[in-house]
Amino acid sequence: MQINAAGCHYRTLNQQIKDAVKRGEKSIELLNVNGQRYIGDGISGETKIIINGVPGNDLGAFMSGPTIIVNTFAQDGVANTMNDGKIVIKGHAGDVLGYGMRGGKLFVKGDVGYRVGIHMKEYEDKIPVIITGGRAGDFFGEYMAGGILILLNLNNEKPERAVGSYLATGMHGGVIYIRGDIDKYQLGEGVGIVELKEADNIVLNKLISEFCKDLNIDTKSVFNKPFKKLIPVSKRPYEKLYAY
């Protein structure tokens, strides 16, 4: 089914989406979306939502299951505290993506802003994944407690940095893979760079193939550069901070 979002307040639009999800619609296409917030907020199930136009902040917040495809760009707060499901963005996206995300996948073809993937966490089989095709701003993976963050830095032939500073500051869980080089000074406190092992390559191959398939990218062009792996130095970064 289609919903025309032109001139529609977010509350009305989101109610229509929720009603459709409740009715069991398998596919919902939104037309003329223009900055409406909270699309897909708190919905669950297996619906697929295709968004034409630019959705507003907090796209897919608290979402648990559905798939959202954004045909253009997205704004801030995508996948905020998301529990499960998948969001694919075919353009760039803004700041604070995947805050506190604990499951599901977020694929962004282009660049992402500041503080992306902060405080992601994992529990048993719930492992959140964010893959960024382009570059990322400062504080990428800050406070990271679990999950997988992948930064591909594709289509960046200029000698610009793939990622900003304070990378993974306060990281105490999870793993970050970055394609290409990073300078030591970009790393935040408590992060170490290690060599990839065979198990890492299996994970990368699987996730990147899915990413490339969803976003129509040649997989070979991704693997023409080696990856760096970032992990926390300690699961207990602040163990020695206090006097008891």
Binding site: F62, S64, E142, K235, R236, P237, E239, L241, A243
Partner: protein, 516 residues
């Protein structure tokens, strides 16, 4: 080091050996390894350095042979460099660490409640006896409309004589309904154990009030108390998912806490046991870090975004509260919070309690709850938006008189935590952060947690609230009021004692001795 590292201990455990029957109950009860039995000598000994002064052993000693004495007075008398200062400095010289503490500040901050007195009726406007006449403590928390519309449902021809002929046309915002204007403040599963969480939930249900999960998520076995549960969303977003939001009666965004304004929280890995890890949804044994700010909230506009993200996720069916620590600019911030769409603003003062906080921050950062409350209420009234949200005050409410004063100063309800913990055994030894609580409260050790029986603890909590509600009714009756609503924000019924003109101005009170 050429000399022994100094560990100036705080307590000395004295035993009357002639009374001791070697039952070893003290050995089993002490969780701080301060007491041990020497079989060879058939004697019980103490390691005084380990004693935290929690009084678990002497409470349980059947022959009353133990006395816990504070030591430290034997340092040379000095108003600047007292035992407290010397011990802290040594602890830091030993470890290089930030001083940690638990519970609310023990420093002598001025307690304004003790400088406020309550009015009563004499001759004119007779007082009411709550034992004989109805007395209403019912409180609704949430946004109240600016005006209401009532429609005559009998139609155009209707006579519209009786109340049943009319219906409220205005759609009201969701409300929390409280039988008494008191709630249990946020205490997270992890900081306190499951048994204590369940006791709070059971007491909240039986007393018709709410308890608050804190930011530790909600154990699935406690979902059945959902209609008496406020769930918290804090910067770590631990255990926040659709089921958690869905079972709750209300959602609270935690921005700050009175005991540690401006800083985040660290639940140490030792406290993240299997069950805690399930609820917080993080691996066992890993630190649970709550960042100092919500990194998606840098402004009132951003706060509005999270408030509405939560309202969208809960279909606008639940009130959203925002809790802040009482700081200098609390009144302006509260105004912003209300304008951002919060249904409830909770303000936690400098004497507010905690499971773990840096000592310097707990004792020095923030302002007293009384002053913040008076200013927030005043500001919201001046701006004409007082009805847009309810105000809940926390941080240092010790008894029913404090509740009465808080409500007359402008609060809709109060949050209590320390009185609730004391009701179930806490002796305020301030060692919650060690996770070894001998009273079975601030610990997840199953051996210790078993010391709290949820049914018994819930009964004690209910008794406490029943006693307070009786006292509140007595005080209301004495003022000639028959509903708590008539006292709310009614500062004319309060007077200050021994306060400066400026303090009185901030509190909006007259001095005792000044008439109406």
């Amino acid at each position: 080091m050429l000399y022994r590292t100094p560990t100036y201990y705080e307590f000395k455990v004295e035993r009357d050996d002639t009374r001791c029957i070697r039952c070893q109950v003290c050995v089993r009860q002490c969780s701080y390894s301060s007491t041990f039995y020497d079989a060879e000598e058939d004697r019980i000994f103490n390691i005084d350095a380990n004693c935290v002064g929690c009084h678990r052993c002497d409470t349980f000693c059947p022959t009353d042979c133990i006395t816990i004495r504070r030591v430290g007075e034997n340092f040379k008398e000095n108003a600047n460099w007292n035992a407290w200062a010397i011990r802290n400095l040594n602890k830091q010289a030993n470890t290089g660490g930030i001083l940690l503490t638990g519970m609310g500040s023990d420093r002598p901050h001025r307690i304004y409640w003790d400088h406020i007195v309550v009015d009563a009726s004499q001759v004119t406007n007779p007082s009411i006896d709550p034992l004989r006449e109805p007395m209403e403590l019912k409180t609704y928390l949430g946004k109240k409309p600016d005006s209401i519309e009532i429609e005559n449902i009998t139609g155009a021809r209707g006579k519209g004589q009786g109340a049943s002929d009319y219906k409220l046309k205005t759609k009201l915002a969701p409300q929390l309904e409280l039988d008494i204007p008191i709630m249990f403040s946020a205490m997270s599963y992890g900081a306190i154990n499951y048994n204590v969480c369940e006791a709070l939930a059971m007491a909240a249900e039986s007393m018709g009030i709410y308890y608050n999960t804190g930011e530790g998520g909600l154990h699935r076995n406690l979902y059945k108390y959902g209609k008496n549960t406020i769930v918290q969303v804090a910067s770590g977003r631990f255990g926040v998912h659709l089921d958690y939001l869905g079972v709750s009666a209300g959602v609270e965004i935690k921005i700050g806490q009175g005991a540690k304004p401006g800083i985040g929280g660290h639940l140490p890995g030792e406290k993240v046991t299997e069950e805690v890890s399930k609820t917080r949804m993080i691996p066992e044994g890993s630190d649970a870090l709550s960042p100092a700010p919500h990194h998606d909230i840098y402004s009132i506009e951003d706060l509005r975004q999270l408030i509405y993200a939560l309202k969208e996720a809960t279909n606008y069916e639940k009130p959203v509260s925002v809790k802040i620590a009482a700081v200098h600019n609390a009144a302006a911030i509260a105004s912003g919070i209300v304008r951002a769409g919060a249904d409830i603003v909770a303000i936690d003062g400098i004497r507010g309690s905690t499971g773990a906080a840096p000592l310097m921050i707990r004792d020095n950062v923030g302002i007293p709850a009384e002053l913040a409350l008076a200013q927030v209420d005043e500001r919201l009234r001046q701006e004409g938006i007082r009805n847009w949200a309810s105000v809940v005050i926390a941080g240092g409410i010790r008894n029913s008189a404090d509740v009465v004063k808080a409500i007359a100063l402008g609060a809709d309800a109060v949050y209590i935590a320390t009185p609730a913990l004391i009701a179930i055994g806490c002796t305020v030894c301030q060692k919650c952060y060690l996770g070894k609580c001998a009273w079975g409260i601030a610990t997840n050790d199953p051996y210790l947690a078993r010391r709290q029986n949820p049914e018994i603890a819930a009964e004690r909590l209910s008794n406490l609230l029943t006693a307070w509600s009786r006292e509140i009714k007595e005080m209301l009756g004495g003022m000639g009021l028959n509903a708590i609503e008539s006292l709310r924000g009614n500062r004319e019924r309060l007077r200050g004692v021994g306060l400066t003109d400026r303090e009185l101005k901030i509190l909006g009170l007259k001095h005792a001795g000044e008439g109406m």
